[in-house]
Assembly symmetry: C3
Amino acid sequence: MWNLPPNDTVLHLLSYVALTAQAMTAALAAGRRSMDWAGVCMLGCITALGGGTIRDVLLGHYPLVWVQNPSYLALTAVAAFATILIARIVHRLNLAFLVLDAIGLVVFTMAGCDVAWQVNASLPIVIVAGMITGCAGGVLRDILCNDVPLLFRSELYASVSVVTGLFYATAFGFKLNDELWTALTFAFGLTLRLLAIRYKWEMPKFIFEDKR
Amino acid sequence: MWNLPPNDTVLHLLSYVALTAQAMTAALAAGRRSMDWAGVCMLGCITALGGGTIRDVLLGHYPLVWVQNPSYLALTAVAAFATILIARIVHRLNLAFLVLDAIGLVVFTMAGCDVAWQVNASLPIVIVAGMITGCAGGVLRDILCNDVPLLFRSELYASVSVVTGLFYATAFGFKLNDELWTALTFAFGLTLRLLAIRYKWEMPKFIFEDKR
Amino acid sequence: MWNLPPNDTVLHLLSYVALTAQAMTAALAAGRRSMDWAGVCMLGCITALGGGTIRDVLLGHYPLVWVQNPSYLALTAVAAFATILIARIVHRLNLAFLVLDAIGLVVFTMAGCDVAWQVNASLPIVIVAGMITGCAGGVLRDILCNDVPLLFRSELYASVSVVTGLFYATAFGFKLNDELWTALTFAFGLTLRLLAIRYKWEMPKFIFEDKR
């Protein structure tokens, strides 16, 4: 999921927080399906690390982050497991987790763009790689929980990722990819997502019935 | 999805048409699930490009077609989006879309065989690669729409792809892979699929109940 | 799925038996969903070979086993197809198939560890690769049958795979990876799984309701 240079300590830290948060909300989803403890841990790992994994497989960017650094697996599995013990608290902190998830969306999107940029992908692919990194984990979670992915139906999420990626990629184009721009992108993407949650901004839905 | 030499202009053109058609029918499926606009575009891209993507990932054939040539993403996303505006028309042209989908099945199967052939896969893998290219996109669509894949239950589809691939691969064996044989395969596969639709040819079903 | 040195003939033979058994139980699952004959064969192949395929894609370990050796595809497709003819018998031999499936779980886990070991993965990844090889095929089957994966909810399965992998990997650590240890691991893992089935050992479930 994560690939910023080590000096980006703030973002690096945020990405750990976001991985933890995504694993924990995935654990709640697992609990709604009465999965067992092993299932909870697996769903946590898959949700938190799945987006970056799909990105790397599609780009042929090996080794995968968690293969190279298995501590990510440990972190997300432990976070998911801990959620079993503190489910009520996690549920009550719903709002905090929405914010943490928003942080994850933005941070993972930026990390995805970075990776695609490193492998010399073209601009559209940089954006798509960011979106996949930010969003695909949740899609895997919903598939494994046997739901139609929320991503395709709920408030602005993928779109926030795309816009954040576009904003971030501008810096690549103008060669301004320094700490300032990274911070700006982070603030921009996070604000966008939080506003979307607060005011329930939604894409229009396409509702189609077979009956005439 | 596509990899024929540039002089195969007719097939090349047909593949664009087929990608568009597959993205549009996927968009209708998205509409039946009330997905939002972003979801519609994503489902269109995944359905139209997913088969070739899975093939390339399984064969380790990088970079993926749409990574190298992002215009495929744009084409399928735009086609899916346009479907929102003209859903009634698309639905009424049901028959035309069945034909376009059949063209896609055959063209993608042939393209898949070509790619596997290029990476020196054995004959069975050439056939399987053709089938995956032709069919797997629809399976992804059905998984994301939370259905049991239609592919596994409806009229001859995967089988048409396999037979088309076998027919096409004969040419590789006999070193006759020229324009004539390509055209013959196309006509053969398309006829087979259209006959299967027209006369509702189906594989026998395997119906198994646990009760005795 | 399989990669032990050719002299491990017993394990090699067992892996063929296990592939066959997994394809046959997948075929019954396909029959419960009224899939057609082609769907039955495909589901058999995907279930039996899917775990090793996902492992290899995640590790970037190409070519895939069944691409290099398409006889695996033939074996599993034929096994699935044969199940259509002898569904009643297969169903009545439920117990035998549980044992065969347990053999598969252990043998595939060990094969997965071997592959990860060969590509110099770290210990945690060796364990995870074993678990993916042993378990992921069944997850794919359940996704394609539109179920919440059984793996996440039923008796010890993934956990048996993890413990078996840990036991097996000990040998790598102590450089004792000879025939004896392989046999010991096999006996240990199989016993564990059979005891789990016999005494219905289950992980505790995490049941979470949104209502307070």
